[in-house]
């Protein structure tokens, strides 16, 4: 099976080559339409993996292949939500959301003439994450969690084929977080996007993902992989079943091993 996102024996060193690698011998393959979750100890290279897969960083060794092509420059089919929201403070939330459309084709060419349609799309997205009517606010008028949700919308607005989420729910309270799990779940089901989600929350990983990858401590590589076979669509109640708890327990054990091995 040829995967949609493939990393072969990738090693990456920050800062021009010298020094200890951030990830080493990292290999993984994620199929088209699959939902993958990456877990691992802090500083193990999860964000680095995201940057490598999207071409924001070039590996020192190994190859990265996305959609059948080797990645040599930032690829244009991704939507990315970073660990911190990174909104542009001189733009309103709505204008921040429209930013990808000003860059990615074919929207870029259509934006001016079809602005109303796109604004409507943006406002609908805002509504799904509970930010209805907040479009005219500046990012600094929003709370951290609200900014995080807006940044999630920004990663979705251009309907990317590949969605990279780097701890997007880190700054949120438990209720909003579960609400957004459902938003992402439905989105994945409806559009068939490939999703790679980095998270510290094992329940989140098990609830959302088809496969969970565990990374070792720095230099990071994949040390375990767990298929999650719960039927879709999954309901939040699932998270309170013993079967679910068992999978979470098993993963917790693997992470503990990864930390001890460090």
């Amino acid at each position: 099976m040829s995967a949609f996102v493939e990393l072969h024996d990738v090693t990456h060193v920050y800062g021009g080559g010298e020094g200890p690698p951030a990830v080493a011998g990292l290999s993984l393959g994620i199929g088209e339409g699959e939902f993958a979750a990456i877990v691992g100890p802090s500083g193990c290279g999860k964000s680095t993996l995201m940057k490598l897969a999207t071409g924001l960083q070039r590996p020192k060794a190994g190859t990265v292949i996305v959609a059948g092509r080797e990645v040599t420059e930032p690829i244009k089919i991704t939507g990315m939500a970073f660990q911190n929201p990174v909104m542009l403070p001189w733009r309103t939330t709505l204008q921040n959301l429209l930013l990808p459309l000003e860059i990615v084709q074919p929207h870029r060419a259509r934006l001016r003439a079809n602005r109303a349609e796109y604004v409507e799309r943006a406002e609908m997205l805002l509504e799904t994450v509970g930010l209805k009517g907040m479009g005219s606010k500046y990012p600094w008028q929003l709370s951290g969690g609200m900014q995080q949700r807006a940044s999630l919308c920004r990663s979705l607005i251009h309907e990317p084929k590949l969605l990279m989420l780097d701890e997007p729910f880190g700054a949120l309270d438990a209720f909003t977080r579960e609400e957004l799990w459902c938003v992402i779940r439905d989105l994945h089901a409806a559009r068939g996007v490939t999703v790679i989600l980095v998270t510290h929350d094992l329940r989140e990983a098990v609830f959302l993902a088809d496969r969970v990858f565990c990374m070792s401590a720095r230099p990071g590589r994949i040390i375990a992989e767990r298929r999650v076979d719960f039927a879709r669509p999954r309901d939040l109640d699932l998270t309170y079943t013993p079967e679910f708890a068992a999978v979470v327990q098993e993963l917790r054990g693997q992470i503990r091993e990864a930390r001890v091995a460090a």
Binding site: P74, M80, F82, W90, L99, Y138, W140
Partner: protein, 256 residues
Amino acid sequence: MTRASWLKLAPYLFTIGFFLLWEAACRVFAISAFILPPPSAIWAALVQYQKPLYTNAFHTLWMTSAGFGLAILFGLALGLLVGSSRLIYAGLNPLLVGFNSIPKVAVVPILVIWFGVGWLPPVLTAFVISFFPIVVNVATGLATIEPETEDVLKALGASRFDIMTKVGIPRSLPYFFGALKVSITLAYVGSVIGEQNASNLGIGNLITRASADFNVPLIFAALIVLAVLGVFLVAIVDIVEARMTGWAKRSQLGNA
């Protein structure tokens, strides 16, 4: 009265207080008007020489604006160029710092040799003196874009030009306006120096002539005119800045 209204009145009260103190000091210590004229004598000079003061101030304003305009144009262009390329930034940095350390007064004789006495030396002095803060600030604003912000755009496949227009330029605007505030007063210094040394017109030239006549009240009157014009120019820049980059101030207030 509320604290807010005191805050509003404070600039006027302090200014009036300053002049009252000055007047009182001159009278109490019986300081000769030849050393330090009291505000009342300066006021008399202002009234007496209002015509020459007016025409010369107008000329100085022109020289300053022309030099400042040139500085904005070239400063912005060079700043964008320097800030957008690490190579150019590294290469030009020592040159810029070196050129910036030359006291610009020392350049005036060269300008006189090149262009003779007239309007060009004051304009060019204003230009060279106010040019650098703009270049340096704009370049800094561009060169210090957070890598995360750049990543957001790069991950969408943005070109360098996109990054420059969507992030670089908006982000460097507060730096640019910060520089303008410094530059406008510097431009003003430049044009007055130019006028003192190489012009037949302008407040600078008026001061030179007044000091040859030992007309101290007129010198002070000219200085007051300069000060008022300076406040006026900075106020204009302030207003423009507040319109263009309100987000920078408000976002700081919001974080505080």
